[in-house]
């Protein structure tokens, strides 16, 4: 039938023969370690949870659904953001500066591709220009904030093209769009976008007539030119392995000549969260970024988290219920505030997420970590909402709602001021996402208890996404703008409140999904958009504090959406069986990021094998 299938059966047969003799003896542990073709345990760092299936491509411009190909073990970003200190740390760029009309970076003179060529400003301009040409690339959106990315030589003159006699330029200037001046998103891009080698990618693209789809068919499995400390070693449906590049330029430039401690980094591809948990317990994994319930029970097996006690992890994002402002009666602020007062956040934190969250505070600025400096407890107290069923009922009464309860205390229906029955409000969440399911159940139960007719509706994952972006929901679970980045908390506000690209229900919106604050409708609050465009340009702390406070107060007063709990977004659990000196709250030399995820890679130079 399919020619390939025949070859396969032969191989299958061989494998079966191998497996047929069911030897029940337990192999010697050390045997595997002594083998040349295997990965010696003392030189291998096992990480898990980043990848769930076999990577389909290692093309640096390919489908970003497979994060390992974009991990900075292979390719590198210009800068790395430290979410503990708020500082940008150097990588390909040794320094950067934010000016009024531009952001400027200077590359490290030592930076090299693994074919020996220097990483130059041309590679940077080429990478960013790709986004200008190909709108489907992830780097494309940055171009609404930029007018040009230019390379400059040592002499201060622009070096547009490689040519005879021109040294490799190291200075790149990102010219900001004066209409939409926003250095924050540019900084976000500088620490998120991997730089690709122009001298390799450009000819390949040109050969294919600049057809990106054709180019994406290249899989870059072998001999790829990259700048990072590791190279791809092997990849199968069971695991992905990378091997250390001993000639990595950064060893000298940033680590005093030291090499990363692990020669191999292996990511096994397990099929469930449980498998990663078990492997971690058994010391087969050294670090995993998967959800491990009741982590405190695993401590005696050598499994650790960032903190030894509640909340165990550093939270960075806020799962919430988005409210559809285009569906009656949800445009009523009293109803939204009543919901926010009704929900039992403590139950959500303790029962749905194993207590891995700080207690929820009003607004959408995190009251801990770096964002704490913008948080005002005074405002929260004055304008915010928290679990208080009596206040919830009071809000409902103030807006003229009445609720009818049955003899057993079960809510029968909610009526509006005009006596009409309110439609049941359905809360959508993807089926099978168990933590979200329990969050939604608790929220629905609390809302019904005060007299709001809400029900859960768990839907198939793919129709969930469609419903989300097209606005086909009453209330829906979502975590906006998750990753820690230099633009927080601005980007969280932007993701929830911006009215740019406002679209009617049925068309897609990727930000402000609840369609709050319609600029063409009465009651539009222009102040919110003003603040959103102002904050990125503010440089003084006092001004920023005032702006953030004002924006957060507007959020609390309007309660456009219902934040529910704090969750870690970048986090890990680790085992102390084979490697020591991993970053944790007691030893916070790096933020909680696994190796390969931006700054987390730097732990590879600090960890040490445990000698048994």
């Amino acid at each position: 039938m399919v020619p390939g299938l025949w070859i396969m059966t032969a191989r299958t047969f061989a494998l079966n023969l191998l497996l047929l003799g069911l030897a029940t003896c337990r192999p010697h542990r050390s045997l595997a370690d002594d083998k040349n073709s295997g990965f010696p345990r003392a030189e291998t760092f096992y990480l898990g949870g980043r990848q769930w299936g076999e990577p389909s491509t290692f093309n640096p411009l390919g489908t970003p659904g497979w994060p390992i190909s974009t991990m900075n073990l292979l390719y590198e970003t210009l800068l790395m953001y430290n979410s503990l200190t708020g500082q940008m740390q150097p990588l390909l760029a040794e320094s950067y500066a934010v000016h009024d009309d531009s952001v400027e970076v200077t590359l490290n003179p030592a930076a090299r591709w693994n074919d020996g060529k220097p990483v130059s400003a041309w590679d940077v301009t080429f990478t960013f220009e790709l986004g200008k040409k190909h709108k489907s690339l992830n780097i494309a959106p940055i171009w609404q904030y930029l007018v040009a990315v230019r390379a400059y030589g040592e002499d201060g003159r622009e070096a547009a093209q490689p040519g005879l006699g021109i040294q490799y330029p190291r200075r790149v200037v990102f010219q900001l769009n004066p209409e939409k001046r926003n250095p924050l998103v540019v900084l976000d891009a500088l620490q998120a976008q991997i730089i690709v080698p122009r001298h390799v990618i450009e000819p390949l693209l040109v050969e294919r007539g600049n057809d990106l789809d054709e180019f994406k068919k290249l899989k870059f499995e072998q001999g790829a030119v990259s700048s990072g400390p590791y190279r791809l070693f092997s990849s199968s449906s069971e695991k992905i392995a990378v091997v250390r590049d001993d000639g990595y330029w950064g060893n000298q430039a940033y680590h005093g000549g030291k090499r990363p401690a692990a020669r191999y980094i292996v990511h096994p591809l397990y099929k469930s969260n449980d498998a990663f948990s078990v492997a971690l317990r058994q010391g087969r994994l050294d670090i995993s970024t998967t959800f491990v319930p009741r982590i405190w029970l695993k401590a005696k097996k050598g499994v650790r988290s960032w903190l030894d006690q509640e909340p165990y992890f550093l939270s960075s994002s806020i799962p919430m219920l988005l409210v559809n402002h285009k569906r009656a009666p949800l445009m009523d602020v009293h109803l939204r505030r009543a919901m926010a007062f009704a929900i039992n956040y403590k139950d959500i934190r303790e029962l749905a997420v194993s207590g891995y969250s700080e207690p929820l505070r009003p607004g959408i600025i995190l009251p801990f970590g770096l964002e704490r400096s913008f948080y005002s407890e005074e405002d929260a107290h004055k304008y915010g909402t928290w679990f208080d069923p009596e206040r919830a009922k009071a809000e409902l009464r103030a807006a003229g709602y009445s609720s009818l309860f049955g003899p057993d205390g079960e809510l029968l229906e909610t009526r509006a001021r005009d006596g009409k029955r309110l439609p049941t409000l359905y809360v959508k969440s993807p089926t099978g996402w168990t933590d979200w399911e329990s969050i939604v159940r608790i929220a629905v139960k609390s809302m019904r208890a005060v007299g709001i007719d809400a029900r859960e509706r768990f839907v198939d994952t793919s129709s969930f996404w469609n419903a989300l972006y097209e606005g086909d929901f009453d209330l829906i679970m979502h975590t906006p703008s998750t990753q820690p980045s230099p633009s927080k908390p601005w980007s969280r506000f932007e993701a929830l409140l911006t009215t740019r690209d406002f679209a009617p229900l049925g068309q897609r919106m990727y930000k402000n999904i609840g369609r709050f604050n319609d600029p063409h409708a009465p009651g539009y609050l222009p102040r919110i958009d003003e603040l959103l465009s102002q904050i990125p340009t503010l440089t003084d702390d006092a001004g920023r504090l005032a702006a953030y406070r004002e924006l957060n107060v507007l959020f609390m007063q309007q309660q456009p959406d219902l934040p529910l709990v704090y969750r870690p977004d970048t986090f890990y659990e680790f085992s102390v069986k084979h490697w020591s000196n991993l970053p944790s709250a007691a030893n916070p030399y790096l933020p909680p990021l696994i190796p390969g995820d931006r700054l987390g890679t730097n732990m590879l130079w600090a960890i040490e094998p445990v000698t048994h």
């Binding site: 045997l31 595997a32 491509t57 498998a275 972006y469 049925g506």
Partner: protein, 356 residues
């Protein structure tokens, strides 16, 4: 012409029916996953759309829709859009004709979620895992189960009293339950066997003693989790078949004639075997469908997992490819049973001879 060759006409007749079944099956396989309103591109977009603005998100979505041939494209290569600005989907009919053409050429198409991988590549890597897990369990389980069943029926007494309830118990336990129990007790609590994976993470598959040892050691739990259940089920079936045969006239007659015991056993076994053989062939045919639960518990990257992820993400070509493979294998197994039974079963043979 075929009237003089009853066997050939039997085979040809059956083949015709199977061809028809096959056509109906692939039609259903094609349309069923596509009937819902979900769309694989939504799943991809959900993963990649964070931070995108409306224009780039739209460009990206269009690029995917075009790539997977899900939308109509005008002469200049632009995606056609309807009055509301929604892309016009390629009609299911033309997709189906396209699909049939590819089937004929032996091309299963490209996966959507694992783009740019081909479906045949994915099946090729997943199938060995499924076969390695299933083939030995089914074959050995079938052999041992039938042996035990026949013995129990013939010997009766203490052996049967012990074996029968144990076999009932084994066949009644749901596979996932038993697998998890094994993992929990032998893998996690006692740590006698590894709980997940197919071989040591520190090894790569190769023909070597170390790999063989590691793979066998890792194979114990998954093997047991299915094997015992197969043994139980087969033993019960065989036991009742044999008890039935024991009561038949030919056995009584043979006993009266004083034919040796092992010879009677052989006759009996041959007759009781027929339905069991059919069962074996069917089990071998359906095994490519994968033992999803076992694969999940032990993190085996087999076909069951491939189908599951494909269905979750509406990866149409991969769903169709896997179901096509399963259909072909099941039909082939059924067909060979039909043909084999024609040769093996004296009754069927006799009936044909009589009809001649």
């Amino acid at each position: 012409m075929l009237e003089n060759h009853p066997t050939i006409s039997h085979v040809v007749g059956r083949a015709g029916w199977y061809l028809l079944t096959f056509l109906v099956a692939i039609t259903i396989n094609f349309f069923l996953p596509r009937l819902g309103d979900a769309n694989p591109v939504d799943t991809i977009m959900a993963k990649v759309s964070e931070g995108l603005d409306a224009t780039s998100a739209r460009a990206k979505e269009e690029a995917y829709l075009k790539e997977f041939d899900l939308v109509q494209v005008d002469a200049s290569g632009k995606v056609k859009r309807d009055a509301q600005g929604k892309p016009v989907r390629t009609s299911l009919g033309s997709q189906f004709i396209n699909y049939l053409g590819m089937c004929v050429r032996g091309d299963l198409g490209g996966s959507i979620l694992q783009h740019p991988k081909r479906v045949s590549e994915i099946i090729k890597t997943a199938l060995p895992w499924t076969l390695a897990l299933q083939l030995p369990t089914i074959v050995f389980g079938w052999l041992l189960g039938n042996l035990l069943g026949a013995l129990a029926a013939y010997k009766r007494g203490v052996f049967d009293t012990l074996m029968y309830p144990l076999a009932l118990l084994a066949s009644a336990i749901p596979a996932f339950c038993f697998g998890m129990l094994l993992v929990y007790v032998l893998g996690i609590r006692l740590e006698w066997f590894p709980a997940v994976g197919g071989y040591d993470d520190g090894l790569t598959p190769e023909v070597s003693w170390a790999f063989f040892q590691s793979a066998s050691y890792y194979y114990v739990l998954p093997f047991l989790s299915v094997f015992l259940i197969v043994v139980g089920g087969q033993a019960i079936g065989m036991r009742s078949m044999c008890i039935y045969e024991l009561g038949t006239d030919y056995v009584k007659y043979a006993k009266l004639l004083g034919i040796k015991e092992h010879k009677i056993l052989f006759y009996m076994f041959r007759n009781a075997m027929l339905p069991q053989l059919t069962g074996l062939a069917l089990a071998l045919g359906t095994m490519v469908g994968g033992a999803l639960i076992t694969e999940m518990i032990f993190s085996y990257p087999g076909l069951g997992m491939a189908v599951l992820t494909a269905i979750q993400g509406n990866d149409y070509p991969l769903i169709s490819g896997c179901t096509l493979l399963i259909t072909v294998c099941v039909l082939l197994a059924n067909f060979s049973v039909d043909v084999l039974v024609g040769f093996l079963d004296p009754r069927v043979r006799a009936a044909r001879q009589a009809g001649k």
